[in-house]
Symmetry: none
Subunit: 216 residues, 4 copies
DNA sequence: GATGAATGAGTGTTCATTCAT
DNA sequence: GATGAATGAACACTCATTCAT
């Protein structure tokens, strides 16, 4: 069914994918209307159904496409041996910014997709969702943050970073900011956090020394 | 707008609140239909709009009402000085079961509300949502579990408990089980986990002693 | 579902029934569109579905209603002891003209319904269809035509009468002719056929006498 | 318009005709979709419209073609002087089986076409329909069945044969059985009925003799 | 106050037909 | 000639909201 789609001129493919990503990302599956896609892309309603068969069909297709595209950029850019959380995050965000060059709403779409519960799509999307989640979890799960030995703190920082990244991406994407600029903004935060962490680590070291001294 | 609502006979108020809670809890905001509420409650459609003005109005009202009611029961039942996580959880679940006596779907409704993203409600509900979340976070954030000193393990256990509690609540509420019975079922699990934790702690202590011995 | 419908003012009920009958009769089930009914009757689309739930629901309702109404008029007007085919037909057509006073397209609708094969309706309509068919078959099956003893000829005449009646009804109903006028037109044909039959009988009798003479 | 069609390679002509026949026969005019024909035949959609102009155009063409083809086979095979109903039927069915060798769905298509009421086709098809109907009626109307003098009984047997023939044709064609095999199956039934009729006739004769005796 | 009949814009989906290649 | 991508009007159906009673 979707095979024919790939015979279209690349430019048109991407216009349609971007239209679907934007409408789904902004409205969620249920609220997203095919009429909005028609308006956004300028391609007739009939054609959407010609290529994707149904609304769940459209969603499933762009979801699968997004996961594949995202994994490709991640594997190209992210160094799998890197163990530093902030550096890994920087690389991941760089990959996302590359994705954003062609598909500005793809990252937002994937972020929002996590919350979907509509029965028409959750099952068809389940598997691909897990693949991407596992990939990102694997990359980050054993990563370290210089100066933050304490797991709890580190997790908090990680979560903080995650919130920061997600928030900025959401906000800036809605504002129409280009993905490269979003990346640069995020990188600024990452650098700051890196500096704060290192100094925290040093303070902590001396505290730890004091503690050890007390022990002896 | 809602003031008039409180002039209704208490019984009718509660019937309407319960109807809204049930339909919203089971279907989510967008899928919940005013027709379903009408059928569930046996009160005319016109009246819903007379009192609440709109569908977002209904949702916002029952959300605020639920938060207030929940906080009231929590403050009545939960001992703020208690530091034991499992005991705190027991008290919180007891409070929820009290809520459930009058409003069987209120807890489920609040659990499901976390996932809502519909623009018609997220902003009007935002503040009250934070109040309840903060309250629960405050209660539990520094709590301990006897025998589990390791934060990591403790977090895992806490998360496990959360999953357990949420899962049982969801399942049993759908089955129509009364809230008191749900509480008793949950309490059984809590007791079991408590016993397992204590024994784990003892094993851990001896391991720790061995470690200290090695240090010296 | 249809119960509420009968609480409507009688005039509105009949406007809706007539609208549905006309659109179905003229276009057949599949071709008939709810939009056409909306336009024909001036009642909103939502209301049709409020009362009948679905397009098959509308069809099934008006079919059942038509059968009941038709049987009522038949039982009121047709003399069950009458054995003369042409007189019986006259009475049946009189009954149909009475039906047509309130529901001009009902007879045409029932005539056309015989040909329906759409799977969405044939099963729900099956039983009522049989009731009406059996009633008419019972009335006519043993009837005689004065002057035509020969079964074969009689059947041909009967079939001819049926074709004539159906054809005139179809043609005149489409032209907007009132049912009473249609009845008078049909009655003219019936009288003519009656006269022709009697004279045919007489010729036949003498032929038969000749035959008997030859035998002896 | 259709002239160009006959310049196509014969094989392609027949593939298109068979595709149209099958899709129309199985779904009826309205339900038959040009997409289905395209899929069934493997010839582009554009071409159908190039040769036939419209959907009614396709239907009208294959209808006319079928009638001509059928009449040709009937005139080749059926002996016009034959007066025995069962033998005539056998010959007709033989002709149909010959038709089926090249166009497996043609007979089914013609059988189903009787029920069509769609305004887009009934008028353009009317004349050819009558030609075929009259031909078959003429062939059979005065035919006799050995042993069955009684017109009433004969008609019943004839109708029974018609039901049998139609039913078997429908069933077996859907099952993909070849037309020759269908013919052989039908022939078996015809032989059986022939034998039953003859014996019925003999019993009847003696009864008749008794009656004559009583007369004298 | 209380009702529920009534609305109509909006939804996903289909399909005969056109037309650039 | 031959293709199939592209169209868009038409379809059955939904639902928050209004308003006469």
């Amino acid at each position: 069914m979707n095979d024919k789609f790939f015979d279209l001129p690349r430019v048109k493919q991407d216009r349609m994918i971007n239209g679907a990503l934007e409408v789904f990302a902004k409205n969620g599956y249920k609220h997203a209307s095919t009429d909005d896609m028609v308006k956004a892309v300028g391609v007739s309603k009939g054609l959407w159904f010609h290529y994707f068969g149904s609304k769940p069909g459209i969603y499933t297709f762009v979801y699968g496409y997004s996961v594949k595209y995202m994994l490709l950029e991640l594997s190209t850019i992210v160094d799998e041996n890197e163990r530093d959380f902030l550096e890994l995050t920087r690389q991941i965000e760089l990959a996302k910014s590359r994705v954003g060059r062609n598909y500005p709403y793809m990252v937002l779409f994937l972020n929002e997709a996590v919350k979907e519960t509509d029965e028409n799509i959750i099952f068809t999307v389940e598997e691909e969702k897990k693949v991407l989640e596992d990939k990102l979890t694997d990359m980050l799960k054993n990563s370290e943050i210089k100066g933050i030995e304490d797991k709890n703190r580190r997790e908090k920082v990680k979560r903080m970073v995650t919130y920061m990244v997600t928030g900025i991406t959401r906000e800036k994407t809605y504002e129409g900011v280009e993905s490269d600029a979003i990346y640069r903004e995020i990188r600024g935060y990452l650098d700051l956090i890196g500096q704060m962490s290192v100094s925290l680590g040093k303070a902590h070291d001396s505290e730890f020394e004091n503690m050890l001294e007390g022990l002896m």
